[in-house]
Amino acid sequence: MITGTPKPIEEILQMLEPYDNIVLAGCYGCVTVCRVGGEKEVEILASTIRLAREAAGKKITIKEVCLERQCDPEYVETMRPYVEDFQAVLSIACGAGIQFLAEKYLTTPLLPGINTGFLGVTERQGEWAERCQGCGDCVLHLTGGICPVTRCAKSLFHGPCGGSSQGICEVDKSVPCGWQLIVDRLKSLNQMDNYTKLKPYKGWNSSRDGGPRRIVREDMI
């Protein structure tokens, strides 16, 4: 899923300074699962903003909504009947969702209420960790199902570097060395042959470096 973290309330209040009636839009997709931008978070954030603005003597009207998905046109369209009645939309969906609203509602300012994080997993209740950078050329079959691009702090293809110590990456004591994980897994799978092969230079053009990406499925159009 796409993860995120709430922006500091001070930053949100500063963004909302010029407005006194807004839509606060959540999303039932990823951000609901990682509990940063779902229906419940819309309610809590709306109350927080109202209280803060009341305390500052500058009341604000907030319409609370939660779209099925902010990244799908059919759900984004559900806001059309009322969006122009408001001065701005504060969205707590991911960056993709916020931008999709912005490009559909050209005359309404869109404000981000969260900082979008990464493609990750729920390791345990309340803890998410990155697993994929969407580089567009998956090599997980060669690396024991552990991604060197994402899990190695240097995205090395022939790790681990000299900074790997007792399974920990030099970058942070809480970060496991991705290449230690890969080596351990390859050993247990009896696939160390994959380790000792010299890998070709990665083509980053399938990643963000090739410019904004697009997938076109002719069979679905």
Binding site: K154, P160, C161, G162, S164, E170, T196, L198, K202
Partner: protein, 308 residues
């Protein structure tokens, strides 16, 4: 000869080689480089010039190489893949060769988190293994990795670094083999303090015949004090300093610890010299270049041979 560098000549002639390093300054003053280099001159076969080590911004490695070359010291260019994509790497390889640099050490580079600019974007377009391959391809095939023909191939004696003490230990020798397969001519190791573990590593490398395919220069760093030893052990990932080494220096009174550190370093070089498969030493006297002559001379490695 692959590059015709002095280091290559000395090693190829079968001499026990000596390299040291010179960290460029945090500023544009060339005198700082010249002062350090004056302490290196005559004591080594080539001198590494570091490339923004520990991710702290310094004068560029290529500029440092040229400054010491002007003084008659053979430079060894360190190049990291942290800050340059493959376009910049190839370009800098060509530029350094054009300026007459003939040795190069291919490194990944410390993560930017450790420097003054932890918010910097890192590159890591290719890794150090692939950089070795890139330089070898350019040198030996006269082409860019893209396949385009070079207008004059760069001439480098290609080096790599290894840390025999990082984890997991069992891939350390296979990884050295990969670097040799990729094109490394010589290797400089991380500073060695745990000689027993290093010998185990060397034995495994010799079993694979790697010492016959690559020149192994053993890395040493003289300890200035027990405090420095403890700090390095605690703070530097992959730095293995056994307690008995620390005890030996800690047992000395403070004012005698530096002299003890030098004595221990000389002893260690003499021991390394006797090991089959060790082709030389890389003496990293960090900000202590004034002791190089004493250490290298003390180990019986001066004067340096002149090989035509």
């Amino acid at each position: 000869m692959k590059s015709g560098s002095n280091l290559e000549k000395v090693l190829t002639a079968g001499n026990f080689s000596v390299t040291a390093e010179c960290g460029p300054p945090r500023g544009a003053d060339p005198e700082v480089v010249r002062k350090k280099a004056a302490l290196v001159k005559g004591n080594v076969d080539a001198c590494n010039v570091t490339d923004n080590q520990t991710s702290v911004v310094r004068m560029s490695s290529t500029a440092g190489c040229i400054l010491i070359k002007e003084m008659g010291i053979e430079p060894l260019l360190q190049m990291v893949v942290r800050d340059r994509n493959r376009i910049a790497l190839q370009s800098d390889v060509l530029g350094a060769s054009a300026l007459g640099v003939r040795n190069m050490l291919c490194l990944s580079g410390d993560h930017q988190k450790f420097g003054d600019d932890p918010q910097a974007k890192n590159v890591f377009d290719i890794d150090s293994m692939q950089l070795i391959h890139m330089v070898k391809t350019m040198r030996d095939e006269g082409i860019f990795p893209s396949g385009q023909k070079l207008d004059g191939a760069p001439k480098f004696y290609i080096g790599c670094a290894v840390n025999p003490f990082a984890d997991p230990f069992e891939i350390r020798v296979p990884r050295l083999k990969m670097k040799i397969d990729a094109g490394a001519d010589f290797v400089q190791t991380q500073c060695i303090y745990n000689m027993e573990k290093f010998k185990t590593y060397l034995d495994l490398a010799k079993k694979e015949g790697l010492h016959e395919r690559v020149k192994i220069l053993a890395g040493v760093t003289p300890l200035k004090s027990a405090g420095m030893a403890k700090f390095m052990k605690r703070m530097v990932a992959g730095m293995d300093i056994p307690d008995e080494v620390i005890k030996r220096i800690a047992d000395e009174p403070k004012e005698k610890q530096a002299a003890k550190g030098i004595e221990m370093c000389i002893e260690q070089i003499q021991e390394l010299k006797e090991l089959e498969g060790i082709a030389g030493v890389h003496v990293m006297a960090i900000e202590w270049e004034e002791k190089l002559a004493e250490i290298i001379g003390g180990a019986g490695l001066l004067p340096r041979p002149v090989v035509e």
